[in-house]
Symmetry: C2
Subunit: 306 residues, 2 copies
C-alpha cells in the first residue's frame, strides 16, 4: 500500500463527499481533511458532523497544501470549480473527481489542471437515493468498483496512490479510458435511472388510476423504480446533459428491444416473451456471484416494513 | 373476525402457495391444509417442508371437503385447473386465486365455478424474485395490499370471510372491479417488470460493453432492475398474454414520455430534465409514508454485500 495522503481536500460535502470523510476517519487514507461546500447550510452541517478538520467557504482556501483534491460536486459544476481552485493547486497534487461521466470531466476540468499537478478522473460506483452531508456513511464504498480514467502521461506511481486510497475503503479499482467508461455507465447506470424517472412520470400523469392507488399498490415492482428515481435531480440532469451520445445510443437500443416486446405482447407470442424473460436470471446470478448485490429476496428488505 | 376456514386447498405450491401455507401455520386462518402441485418434485419438496396436511397429485382430490380453494398457479394455468376441480368443489366453498391479472381469471375460471360455490378472484400484491416451494415465508403478506374482485351476487359475508383470511396474515384488503385492477397493476407492476426485462435484454446484446462489465458495474442502478427481471418467466409470460390491452396502453404512455425525455437530452434541455426528475421524490415519499417500502438507503441492503 502507498503511504496515506497528507491532506485531502473534499470539495463538495454531499452523499459522496461526506462518505469519503467518514471512510477516511474509519479506514485511513489521509492525515487531515479540508472541506468546502458552496452552501453555508451544508458547511454548517458538515462542521457539526466533524466531516473535516477545517472548513472553507472558498474552495481555493481548501486546496492549499492538499496533495489530494477530490471534486465531489455534480458533473456540471466541476469545470467552474476547477477554474476557481486552479491557482491554489500545489505541485505534485492529484486532482480527481467522483462524477458519473468522465469524458465531460476531461473536457471541462482538464484545461484548469496546472502542469505541476496530476489529473486522474475517477468514479466510485456507489451511492444511495439520498443526498446531502447527512447521507454519507463509511461503508458506502465497500465492495464497490471505482473506475479511474487517468489522462495520458500520468505517472503510474500517482495512479497507484489513488488506487490504494480507494482500496483502503474496501473498493476494487479498474482503470479504463474515459470514453469507454461513459459507454459502460450509460448502460449500467444512466439508462436505468432514465427509465425509472420516466416510469414515475408516466404514473404521475394517469387519469384513470389515482396517485393514491399507484402508491398503495406499488409493491408489485414500481416501488423499486421510485427508489432510483428519487436520486438527486441536479446530479442526474448533469449526467444526461454531459453523456448525451452514449445515453442516446443505449436508449435507442432499449427502445428497439422494447418494440420487439410490444409486438410479442400484441400478437400473443408467448414463446418470444418466455425466452427473453428466461435469459435475465443468468445476469442476476452473475451480479450476485460477483458480490454486487445481495442474494436475499427483495434485497433483504424487512418484510414488516418493506 | 370471521371464524377460520375448516380446510384450505392450496393448488400450486410455489412462492405464493408455500407462503400461504407458512402464514396459516404462523397466524391461523384454517384448521387444515390440503396441497396439490403439478410436478412430482414440487410435491415431494412440499411434503418435506410439511407445507400441507395432505398432498395430492390430483387437484380434484385436494379440493374435496375444502371450504376455501386457492389457485396459486400462473394465470394461464388457472382455467384448465378450474375445469379439473369443478366436479369436486363442495357446496358453499369459496374459489379464489392469487393471479396478477383479474379480467382473464374471470373469463377463464368463471365458467368452471359450480353454481353452489362462490367465486372471489384475488391478488395479494406481494412477492419476491424467487420461486418454487422453498421460496415461501410466513411474513410475505405483512403490510401488503390484497385486492379482491368478487363477481356480482357474491354474499357479503363470504367476501368478509376471505378478507379476514388475508387480514390475519397482516395484509390490508381492497375490493375493486377486475378491469380497474388490471389497469392499476399494469402501471404499478406489469410495466415495471416489462422495462426491467427489456433493460436486461438490451444489456445482454451489447457489442462494445462486455457482459462482465455490465455485471461488475451494475451497482449504479442496473442491479435493481435485474432483481425484478429474475422473477418467474412463466408467470410473467402469462401476465403479459392476459393483460394485453392495459399493458399496451401503459407502454404507449411510457414510450410517449420517453420520447420527451429523449428530445430533452438531445437538445440539452436541462430545465425539462430537472423538473421531471424533481417530481419523482414526492411519489417515493408517499410510498414510504404508506408503509409500502423501507426508508433505509438502498432498501437497507447490507453495504458489505449489497
Amino acid at each position: 500500500m502507498s503511504k496515506p495522503f497528507e491532506k485531502v481536500a473534499l470539495l463538495g460535502l454531499g452523499l459522496i463527499g461526506s462518505s469519503i470523510a467518514h471512510a477516511i476517519r474509519a479506514y485511513g487514507g489521509a492525515r487531515s481533511i479540508s472541506g468546502h461546500a458552496k452552501s453555508a447550510e451544508t458547511l454548517k452541517v458538515a462542521a457539526e458532523l466533524k466531516l473535516a478538520d477545517t472548513f472553507h467557504a472558498d474552495p481555493a482556501e481548501a486546496v492549499k497544501g492538499a496533495d489530494l483534491i477530490i471534486l465531489c460536486v455534480p458533473v456540471g459544476a466541476c469545470g467552474p470549480l476547477a477554474a476557481a481552485i486552479s491557482p491554489a493547486v500545489g505541485a505534485g497534487a492529484i486532482i480527481t473527481d467522483v462524477g458519473s461521466v468522465k469524458g465531460a470531466i476531461v473536457r471541462d476540468v482538464g484545461p484548469h489542471v496546472p502542469s505541476h499537478a496530476h489529473f486522474i478522473p475517477g468514479h466510485p460506483i456507489a451511492g444511495t437515493e439520498q443526498s446531502g452531508p447527512r447521507a454519507g456513511f463509511a461503508e458506502l464504498f465497500q465492495n464497490r468498483w471505482c473506475i479511474l480514467t487517468p489522462v495520458a502521461g500520468t505517472p503510474q506511481e500517482r495512479i497507484t496512490a489513488l488506487e490504494d486510497f480507494w482500496k483502503g475503503f474496501g473498493s476494487r479499482v479498474e482503470v479504463m479510458g474515459a470514453e469507454h467508461h461513459d459507454l459502460v455507465l450509460a448502460m449500467t447506470s444512466h439508462l436505468p435511472h432514465l427509465i425509472a424517472y420516466n416510469s414515475v412520470a408516466t404514473a404521475a400523469d394517469l387519469e384513470e388510476v389515482t396517485q393514491s392507488e399507484v402508491i398503495k399498490f406499488s409493491a408489485g415492482g414500481f416501488r423499486d423504480l421510485t427508489r432510483i428515481a428519487s436520486s438527486d435531480p441536479t446530479m442526474w440532469r448533469d449526467v444526461f446533459l454531459n453523456n448525451k451520445d452514449a445515453v442516446l445510443e443505449m436508449l435507442g437500443r432499449f427502445t428497439e428491444e422494447l418494440a420487439v416486446l410490444q409486438r410479442a405482447i400484441r400478437w400473443g407470442d408467448g414463446e418470444t416473451l418466455f425466452n427473453l424473460f428466461s435469459r435475465a436470471r443468468e445476469i442476476r446470478r452473475g451480479i450476485i456471484a460477483a458480490g454486487q448485490d445481495t442474494a436475499a429476496p427483495n434485497f433483504g428488505r424487512d418484510p414488516r416494513k418493506g
